[in-house]
């Protein structure tokens, strides 16, 4: 399941004309984008970036102190970004990192300057339009001292481009007292192979929150990002919601290293399978004390599928407090009957409970995105899987 033949994908030649106005995209494409959290009207955003196959087609910023550009442009402008490129990830880690080092065909560079607190999110979109296209991209996100950024990252394949590969390197840097919220929404095709490789470093007092939502089918996805809390009082939180219909294979985890005193980490994941396979990993490691970490891997199996929960805690320090909760199961009959006693039928009760279980609201998404997610969850038809 985990061998990927990269020669089946085309990593060059996917050139496209610039798209000044995302609203001019074909309707079939823009509908897919909305489900990945991309507002094609660019309303209420601080900046927007879009890559189509191998071409950066759209990029604008509206905010002083926000830099946003194609990674290739940034590498040229900043002499290859020696301070930030391949600093958190080993390019020799695997064939996907090697491919991206040798042949980076896109990605973005975003930097929020010291003290600049962006109120509106920056949206980025990695769009695969060509059948058989392979993206091997490198993103670098820098939140300077005391700055704040909410990044919405949507990754989407066009309806006709299900057979595709996405290799995405992302390095996050949150400097002292900075705050980065990174919301990633995946909207792939049934055959898409996805290999994100992400790592982040959070300095003293910095905060990193990662929201991840996968509600649509995917061929084969494997990722296990690592956030290192390198300075005291840094905080990292992962919230993941994964839904795996029949045919999806998802091996997804989140790792936090508590490497300084008084750091806190939280990994919360909610997994629902309606026939797919999910390996639900989580790791919190504490190499400094005092430090606190909590891990929650919860899974619901409804109508077949497999969930393999692997929560891990690791420390050699006196005085750390690490805990985890893992569960794989079904909807509690007691909860069903409670709602049915209020007049909800079986389907309504099941979908109400599943919606609560997936609890996307906890992520504090912008309203239109929250609404899009609610609609997607309503479509899951959990009731029929009971």
């Amino acid at each position: 399941m985990n061998t990927v033949d990269l020669s089946r994908y085309s990593f060059t030649g996917g050139q496209h004309q610039a798209v000044e106005d995302l609203a001019t995209l074909p309707q079939a494409d823009s509908r897919r984008l909305v489900l990945a959290g991309i507002d094609v009207h660019d309303k209420a955003v601080s900046g927007a970036f879009m890559q189509m196959d191998h071409a950066g087609v759209h990029c604008h910023t509206r905010q002083e102190g926000l830099e946003l550009m194609d990674i290739r442009q940034a590498l040229a402008k900043y002499d290859g970004l020696p301070q930030h490129r391949w600093k958190l990830l080993d390019p020799d880690k695997d064939e996907f990192t090697r491919m991206t080092r040798e042949h980076c065909n896109g990605g973005y560079f975003v930097r929020v300057r010291k003290g600049v607190k962006l109120k509106e999110p920056v949206q980025s979109c990695m769009f695969i339009k060509g059948h058989g296209a392979g993206q091997s991209i490198h993103n670098i996100v820098i939140v300077e001292e005391g700055a704040e950024l909410h990044m919405l990252g949507g990754c989407v394949t066009a309806h006709e481009a299900s057979h595709a590969a996405h290799l995405g390197i992302t390095e996050y840097y949150v400097e002292k007292g900075g705050k980065l919220t990174f919301t990633m929404i995946h909207n792939w095709g049934e055959q898409t192979v996805v290999r994100p490789r992400s790592a982040g470093m959070v300095a003293e007092g910095g905060q990193f929150q990662n929201n991840y939502i996968l509600l649509k089918p995917v061929g084969n996805l494997q990722m296990n990002p690592l956030i290192t809390l390198a300075g005291p009082h840094a905080v990292a939180r992962f919230n993941s919601v994964v839904v795996a219909p029949t045919g999806s294979y998802v091996d997804a985890g989140n790792r936090i290293e508590l490497a300084a005193s008084n750091t806190r980490g939280e990994v919360i994941s909610r997994v629902l399978t309606t026939g797919g396979t999910v390996i639900n990993r989580g790791l919190i490691r504490a190499s400094a004390s005092p430090a606190k970490g909590h891990l929650e891997c919860k899974g619901l199996i409804m109508g077949g599928g497999r969930i393999h929960a692997i929560p891990e805690l690791d420390s050699n320090q006196d005085g750390v407090e690490l805990s985890h909760e893992a569960a794989v199961g079904k909807i509690a009959q007691e909860e069903m009957e409670y709602l049915m006693a209020r007049g909800l039928d079986e389907d309504e009760a099941a979908s109400t409970i599943v919606r609560g279980f997936l609890n996307v609201e906890i992520m504090g998404l912008p309203a239109p995105l929250q609404q899009a997610m609610d609609e997607q969850i309503a479509l899951l038809d959990a009731g029929n899987a009971m």
Binding site: M340, G343, G356, F357
Partner: protein, 263 residues
């Protein structure tokens, strides 16, 4: 409103209710007494249609319709409501949203409704997550106010409630049963609300201070006996315990003393 004929219910194959006959008229409030383990809660859960409560004999009629084997949500939609003694926590579902769901499309001023049970600050909280005894009760009552059932089943409305909350819970139960006429309701609606019936389990009788209870009966070992005015039953139990029920039922079972030990 409710008619139960010769109801026998088994739980995990063990007979618990052994021939219950009970009639509750529209607008009437009926009180169920009885020692722990006598089957009172089983009766309420069987009326609501919970899984695991198997009706082996007899019938239940509600508003003229037989509901003996009807699915739970149909009973609820027909106008049967229940206040849970130990409701489950539902994560990710806010109390306000659940109250809205209970209303089934009715236009409700949920914050205003919540204020009447001092629960407006809880509407954003997950359903029953970390609620105290009194909070659980107020949450249940709020849901019932939105649901507007015609027959409300209360399982020990006073349990786990402190004295201060008891007055609030008691008054709210009364409002639910007697109707909640406010300036906006029409006469016809008021008349409808007055037809709300109640079936209440109580051990302590505190709830009797608040509701107009018409009739009561003692359940003992899966059977009903000793119908009287609820106050009289309560006084009697306070003085003599459930001894007399035992004598009563002993005659009924041809001299064999009922198997359940006295509390």
């Amino acid at each position: 409103m409710l008619e139960i004929r010769n109801l026998h219910v088994s739980v995990h194959g063990v007979p618990v209710l052994k021939g219950i006959d009970l009639h509750v008229a529209p607008g009437e409030t009926f009180i169920l007494f009885g020692p722990n383990g006598s089957g009172k809660t089983t009766l309420l859960l069987s009326l609501m249609g919970f899984s695991g409560y198997e009706v082996t004999q007899g019938q239940i009629f509600f508003k003229g319709q037989e509901i003996t084997h009807a699915p739970m949500h149909e009973r609820a939609r027909l106008g049967l409501g229940m206040s849970f003694q130990r409701p489950p926590t539902i994560h990710g579902l806010s109390t306000g949203k659940l109250v809205e769901l209970c209303g089934r499309g009715r236009t409700l001023d949920i914050p205003a409704l919540a204020r009447t049970v001092h629960f407006d600050r809880f509407l954003q909280r997950d359903v029953n997550a970390g609620f105290s005894g009194g909070e659980l009760k107020r949450s249940e009552l709020l849901q019932l106010m939105a649901q507007q059932p015609d027959l409300v089943l209360f399982d020990e409305p006073e349990s786990g409630v402190d004295l201060e909350n008891m007055a609030l819970v008691g008054k709210t139960v009364r409002h639910l049963l007697d109707g909640m006429p406010d300036s906006g309701t029409t006469l016809r609606e008021q008349a409808r609300q007055r037809s709300t019936s109640g079936l209440i389990i109580t051990h302590t009788g505190h709830i009797l201070e608040y509701v107009n209870a018409h009739r009561g009966q003692v359940m003992y070992n899966g059977k009903l006996c000793c119908e009287a005015r609820p106050r009289e039953i309560l006084d009697h139990i306070a003085r003599h315990g459930y001894q007399e029920c035992l004598r009563c039922l002993a005659g009924d079972t041809f001299g064999t003393i009922a198997e359940a030990p006295l509390p």
